[in-house]
Symmetry: C2
Subunit: 207 residues, 2 copies
Amino acid sequence: MAEKRYKKSEITREKILEVAEEHFAEKGFFGARVDEIADSADVNKRMLYSHFGSKEGLYTAVLVKTYKRLAEFEKHFIIEGIDPIASIRNIVLTSFRFLSQNPNFVRMLLWENLNMAKSVPRDELSRLKAPSLEYMREQIRRGKEQGIFRADADEFHTVFSLMNLCFSYFSNIHTMSAMLSRDMTADEEVISRAEYISDVIIKYLEP
Amino acid sequence: MAEKRYKKSEITREKILEVAEEHFAEKGFFGARVDEIADSADVNKRMLYSHFGSKEGLYTAVLVKTYKRLAEFEKHFIIEGIDPIASIRNIVLTSFRFLSQNPNFVRMLLWENLNMAKSVPRDELSRLKAPSLEYMREQIRRGKEQGIFRADADEFHTVFSLMNLCFSYFSNIHTMSAMLSRDMTADEEVISRAEYISDVIIKYLEP
DNA sequence: GGAGAAAATAACCAATTAGTTACTTTTGGA
DNA sequence: TCCAAAAGTAACTAATTGGTTATTTTCTCC
């Protein structure tokens, strides 16, 4: 049972990671404080450093963990034996489900986007390239072959728009709610938004 | 000429503001350093404080200035005497022009969105509510009245989508370029994107 | 041209920050 | 039972940070 030895260390590590995710998602890399993370996790700062080496090391670990959740979720995008239109609706709904369940993912991605090309090199993360993107494109292609979608519909831009529409709903929800004077966090609002996005995309694709 | 007195002070103020915008847009409120801003502006830190009171005061001043640029630009959204379809194309193109010319605006808005409800209270800014939003909605309504657009097209969601599609192109351009392995900063790419967005929106609105 | 106020400077301060060191406690296997 | 290694603690450090003070320079108006 060599693996089980000092299991408590692993628990501490997980606890730090969990708390750190909240802090980094909330305040970003520069806004988050190492001492605060250690305190919130009820762990000595020393342990944080022995596990992750530095603030940056901890941040990267959080980022990897966050991205992994998306990778694991991607299987839900794929449903066999449904028509391309249903497939697109499923992609939108699945994206909405993931994004609403993972607000930290949304925020971490936004921070990353803003801090890009700075301080922290994240080579391994730059090859994110979710496989589901290629899947979406396939669905459009399949629809074209079946004559359900226009042959001249732009596949690249459509996939890009679909992603943007889903993501930006969650990333701008607060600013937009204020700007448009309409609370968009309500459940029925979220669902109606997902439907609308599917409608727009499908209408564009249709002949 | 009492106003002209000590004009140099005003020049210093502008210089600080200009440099601070670059720093805050680049690194955000927490990432930017007061000393660096003062150094870059070739100005003594003391002057920065006598003009703006605090780091927060300076940040708010930059934010106000940035937002004002949008307010001034909004007139370009409005063109009299064109049909609703041309109007929507103009709105998209104008948004693209503004956003590509004001990368700092894009970044400041992203930082604001992430820091929202934190530390810095910005009451006066929360009532941003660009009047052009109402104008967009009017154009859709006008199209409906003329029978060019579907009567049951969702006005709110469409305005929201149009904004999101335009904004997210510029806010995610780097992440997305990497993810989709396609450099989207190139000029012809930007133009084709604007056209695509108009197409999607118009196709949704058409009967 | 000199008086007085505003603008500008440099050196300083107190608080906070990421990161470390020297030390004690716990653990699992022999 | 004992011991070596790992886990954990608390106090410390050096650097950085936003912000200030005491002082000198510059400018406008009489």
